[in-house]
């Protein structure tokens, strides 16, 4: 099946030596580099979304719009409710600090009504209606809301970004395939003489195709591994110290499966390039006669 890859030395010489300045490995390297970074970002975003989703799955907030003069009583009531595993009040100072980001010094005004907020976690099957009723007995305006409702737009955006990353990976792969088609056609033109000689002595289209397929497979392998190594170095640099990475990925790390996927990408790119080269060369040879 891979016999075409391991041909005798004289057959390797048929198309001459590959120049280090040949563009194909460089183009593939750039594509591989970009694909790796985008795929890593996509996977990190998926992990971030997963971590976030899991973290807020059972988390709810009890909000009292008018502020909480009776916050301690509310907190005790929530903690005492069946199904509540933990509850914690958000200090007013913290609320004002958060509001300050939008309102500035006006957030410190005592005239500003700051809502009271209690975050709590529940076990599956907890009766949220009962919790709300208990709270309303103490503070009539109190209502329970799920954290996932408020974070839903963010999660939606993260999902969208994952798809964008996936789409970009596909687009870049398509661009790499197009570059390989151009490279294959260029190589056919360059080696038209050798092809004519090969056909003249009875070589089949497949035999001729194997020569180009092998050459492009090697170029693609070198390019995609080179690009992947460069991308790996950049990822390492970003994740080992730069806070930028944390901001970019929400602190999410890549798991073993993610790393395995990333490691397979250069190989997948090589396989894609080889297959595209084979199809392009065979088609071009058939169109030629």
């Amino acid at each position: 099946m891979l016999g075409w890859l391991f041909v005798a030395l004289p057959e390797r010489r048929l198309l001459g030596a590959t120049s280090r300045r040949a563009p194909t490995p460089w183009v593939i390297a750039i594509m591989s580099f970009s694909i790796m970074l985008i795929a890593a970002t996509g996977l990190a975003l998926a992990n971030t979304a997963g971590v976030l989703s899991r973290a807020i799955e059972a988390r709810y907030a009890l909000e009292v719009p008018g502020g909480g003069g009776n916050l301690d009583a509310l907190l005790a009531a929530v903690r005492a409710s069946p199904g509540v595993s933990s509850a914690e009040a958000v200090p007013e100072s913290e609320m004002r600090e958060t509001l300050g980001k939008w309102l500035g010094p006006a957030a410190e005004s005592t005239e500003l009504p700051v809502p009271a907020l209690i975050n709590f976690d529940v076990v599956p099957g907890a009766d949220l209606g009962a919790i709300q009723k208990r709270a309303q007995a103490i503070a009539p305006g109190a209502h329970v809301s799920a954290h996932r409702d408020s974070v839903a737009p963010l999660l939606h955006s993260l999902t969208l970004l994952q798809w964008v990353a996936f789409g970009l990976v596909l687009l870049l792969s398509a661009a790499a395939a197009a570059a390989v088609v151009l490279a294959a056609r260029g190589a056919l033109d360059t080696h038209r003489f050798t092809i004519d000689v090969m056909h003249g002595i009875g070589a089949t289209d497949l035999q001729v195709t194997h020569l180009f397929q092998r050459k492009i497979a090697i170029d693609a392998f070198i390019g995609s591994i080179g690009g992947a190594v460069a991308a790996g170095a950049v990822l390492l640099l970003l994740t080992t110290g730069a806070s930028f990475a944390g901001e970019l990925t929400g602190g999410a790390t890549l798991g073993l499966v993610d790393l395995a996927i990333l490691a397979l990408l250069p190989l997948a790119l090589t396989v894609l390039a080889t297959w595209v080269a084979r199809v392009a060369v065979l088609r071009a040879l058939r169109e030629a006669l």
């Binding site: 005798a8 004289p10 057959e11 010489r13 048929l14 001459g16 030596a17 003489f193 050798t194 004519d196 000689v197 090969m198 056909h199 003249g200 002595i201 009875g202 070589a203 089949t204 289209d205 035999q207 058939r286 006669l289």
Partner: protein
């Protein structure tokens, strides 16, 4: 030295012995390139197995086009062509390579692969035919010795003289012991002495049973080849409808 054929293909040649009598047959063949005028018209002829033919005619008469039809580099636009007993006019592209392997072609411009040694150039047809490495070495060395280039096996074409390159091209054309050898102006780029030497190789091969078709302008060359037959083309048609005019042998040296 007398070359007796190469070991790897001798068995195949014997197997095909019954087909040796069936060489090219052209039946009302015409050829045009694109939408241009016909460059070959109404060609009707049959080549005799084991014969030696010269294909002559003025420039532009269609000699190279006829040779391309013979070595299956071109399909006719009309008429039928049979080769080795097979109708090949409408044969699929994939069906042609096995027939091409039974034809040796020598080009005026040699068409050697520059970055491969003389040895590898000569070995190419055997490798394309799938011969194992151990079946390549001996026959190629033998063939290079036959054309007088045993000591130039590792030389690359750009370092060889015109005559040497042409001999490498001939060695490559005949390494598979072809049943039909086609040569397009093989002596066009060499001096008279080398031309005679090359023709000696062709006649030696012909004596081994290969049918030889040589396109040439060189009347002297024709006259020096006893028993050769003449096919003359003018304006894309055969001057002699029988396709083979007997050329009386002349004593060597008379050109």
């Amino acid at each position: 030295m007398a070359w007796q054929g190469c070991a790897p293909c001798r068995k195949a040649c014997l197997k095909r012995e019954g087909e040796w009598q069936r060489l090219p047959e052209f039946d009302s063949v015409g050829l045009r390139y694109g939408t241009g005028a016909e460059v070959l018209r109404d060609l009707d002829f049959r080549l005799r197995s084991g014969a030696f033919y010269f294909l002559t005619g003025p420039s532009g008469a269609g000699k190279t086009s006829l040779l391309k039809l013979l070595y299956l580099a071109q399909r006719p636009t009309r008429g039928r062509i049979s080769l080795f007993g097979q109708e090949l006019t409408d044969a699929s592209r994939d069906a042609l390579p096995p027939f091409r392997r039974r034809i040796g072609v020598v080009f005026q411009d040699f068409r050697l692969i520059r970055h491969m040694s003389a040895f590898d150039n000569v070995a190419l047809p055997l490798r394309v035919a799938g011969a194992a490495d151990e079946d390549v070495e001996g026959p190629v060395r033998e063939m290079l010795a036959w054309v007088g280039l045993a000591d130039r096996a590792s030389a690359r074409p750009p370092t060889l003289s015109g005559g040497e390159q042409q001999r490498v091209a001939i060695a490559r054309a005949v390494i598979n012991r072809p049943e039909l050898l086609v040569a397009d102006e093989p002596t066009g780029n060499v001096d008279a002495e080398m031309a005679n030497r090359l023709m000696g190789l062709f006649t030696a091969l012909n004596r081994l049973g290969t049918t030889v078709v040589v396109a040439t302008h060189d009347v002297g060359l024709i006259n020096e080849t006893p028993g050769a037959q003449l096919i003359r083309l003018e304006n894309g048609t055969l001057v002699d409808p029988t396709g083979a005019l007997r050329n009386p042998p002349r004593p060597k040296g008379q050109r």
